[in-house]
């Protein structure tokens, strides 16, 4: 009974909508800066990283791995490439251009921008959930992926999928009262944001570092392509 009151309380809702957002963004930003800068400092000890770095070849590498089917391996795994690209584009576009999110920005800071039409956003959310399902099934049924899957991999997938699942439920008001699911949605979104610098979700940050190194190494020294 207490739990029910807590979850439906306006105080929790206001906390998650206000201070907790600040906390989540600060943790995310500071954590990210720490993660990237600590690696950048450590890379000095690895004497072979900085001397070979090249902007040109780093960007050649980024380009080939950020354009769908830009590398041979993506062409070898067309389904994975499709789902992975849709998912990674969606995880940026959807939260930023979702109308209810923009309304919150407007209420807080009075700023607003273009938003996705309601039905488009709804379908996109379903697609995102399907992508997560694809990743989950791949982890369970593809032997080469199952072999390197740990409990933490399922947890990470759950952390990423949860905001989309709860967001979808909130939009369709599947659970009553509405405020419970919205609070849950906000909490899970904030957890995901804070988890990025401190988990393997941080590949969002380190992608640029490892790719820049490998791309430069291949371009500057090995005179061959890394895609």
């Amino acid at each position: 009974m207490f739990m029910y009151e807590f979850l439906t309380s306006i105080q929790l809702y206001n906390f998650l909508k206000g201070p907790m957002v600040w906390i989540a963004f600060i943790v995310f930003l500071c954590g990210s800066i720490y993660r990237v800068s600590s690696l950048a400092v450590l890379a000095k000890r690895d004497r072979v990283v900085y001397p070979y770095l090249s902007l040109k070849y780093a960007f050649r590498s980024f380009l080939h791995w950020l354009v769908p089917f830009g590398s041979r391996n993506m062409r070898l795994h067309p389904w994975m490439t499709l789902f992975a690209f849709v998912f990674h584009i969606g995880i940026f576009i959807l939260p930023i251009f979702l109308y209810p999110h923009i309304v919150l920005w407007q209420q807080a800071w009075g700023i607003r921008w273009w938003s996705l039409p309601e039905n488009v956003a709804d379908i996109a959310t379903i697609i995102m959930i399907l992508c997560c399902m694809f990743f989950l099934l791949r982890r369970i049924f593809a032997p080469e992926v199952r072999l390197v899957t740990y409990a933490s991999d399922y947890l990470l997938l759950a952390i990423v999928a949860a905001p989309f699942v709860t967001g979808f439920m909130a939009f369709h008001q599947i659970i009553e009262p509405y405020r419970v699911i919205v609070s849950l949605h906000m909490l899970l979104g904030e957890i995901m944001l804070m988890a990025i610098p401190f988990s393997r979700l941080g590949h969002m940050l380190t992608f640029w570092l490892t790719r820049a190194h490998t791309g430069s190494e291949f371009g500057v020294f090995r005179h061959s392509r890394d895609y």
Partner: protein
Amino acid sequence: MMTMHRKIVSDPGFDETIKTLAPEKIAHTINYVLQKEAAARLKAYVETCIHCGLCNEACHFYVSYDRDPSYSPVAKVRQTIWDMMKKKGKVDAETLKTYARIGFTECNICRRCSMYCPFGIDIGYMMILVRRICGLLKVAPLYLQDQGYSHMYTYSQSWVAQDDWVDTVQFVEEELRMDIRNARIPLDKEGAEFMYSPHSLEAKFKTNLLSNIAKIMNVARADWTMPSFDGWDSTNQSMHLGDYETMGMVERMHFDAAFKLRVKKIVTSECGHSFRAAIYDGSRVLGWKEPPITYLQPTQLFYEFVRDGRIKIAQKLSEPVTVQDPCSIVRNRGLGQMLRSVVKAACEDFREVEPKLEHNFCCTAGSGVINYGPPWKFLRMEGGRVKIEQLQSTGAKIVIAPCHSCHKTIEEMIDYYKVNMHVMFISELLVKTMEIPDDLKPAQSGKAET
């Protein structure tokens, strides 16, 4: 959860040495290498890997063993580096043997997987760390350890001492004069353009290869030399053992020989690993960004000779020919187009391979695996199945492989899989097809030499 089917192989380098290892020593070595020597790259790679399993297609072992997931690159990291980190180095000798088996015998450090990982994670680098750890603890294939000791003792890979070397050169020169009039193999010629640095096998039982190179140099009228003193051997098996100290020493001897003779360029033998050791691992250990002297693989030299008309092709080869792109010179240095250019100049019917250039599959003998001796031959034969299938599908009868490891293992696979094919070095191809100028043709028998 994890099923690994592996043949039991008895190799004293693994089985005997683990008996003497104390757990504290293992833990100390693992932690020293992972925490003191490895830095940002290891940390970034381990923390970035999202366990997606997309690197599997890159590995020739994975493909050849019917997509057995335990051969996928990330599975090898899981069974070695992740395991060591999780246990903080506290592992028993049997586990160390498993690490060594994976690091030494199930990865050729061809670095194809770093081209297939979406994050560009250099899995080869992590396998080098595994080799480093096991090498420091002397848990490595016996044959490879033997060659490591040979480098320490004779500065050559196969116990060829300096006096043997000079003797070999002299009889090769004498024999060469039957084909080339007044052929010379100049030793210790100061200020020459090239210093040719052979594979130690060329001084031991493959002297015909040394003879081929000498023939080409004579026909191209190159200003070349070789050192009579230590540093003549370009090989470096210590690199494969993870013995950076000996590797650095061997490379320094090698560069020093060139500086002593004041030559302009070093040309290594048609070998992949010695090229990699000199320009990549060795140079970096010695603190050079690029090798301190222009360092050529024969592919580059022959390309220049053919392009500049110093070598003319008299009679092109008529059989269908394809190429093997050795990892150390193509993926690691982009010499694939030069290789094709020479082969096309000397052959009428060139067949392209698929996948080609940097996407080519490793021959399964790279990074010392060719030298592990009879106990491990099955591994190269089984792991190279995809290689022989790839070469067979071109329909070629001759494979040009400018690398000792590729050459030997493909020749053995041809025998093992009963394929109608033959492997040649580029030097062999040129010797067969090049034009020998009249003034270099040996005098007719019966006539006095002038």
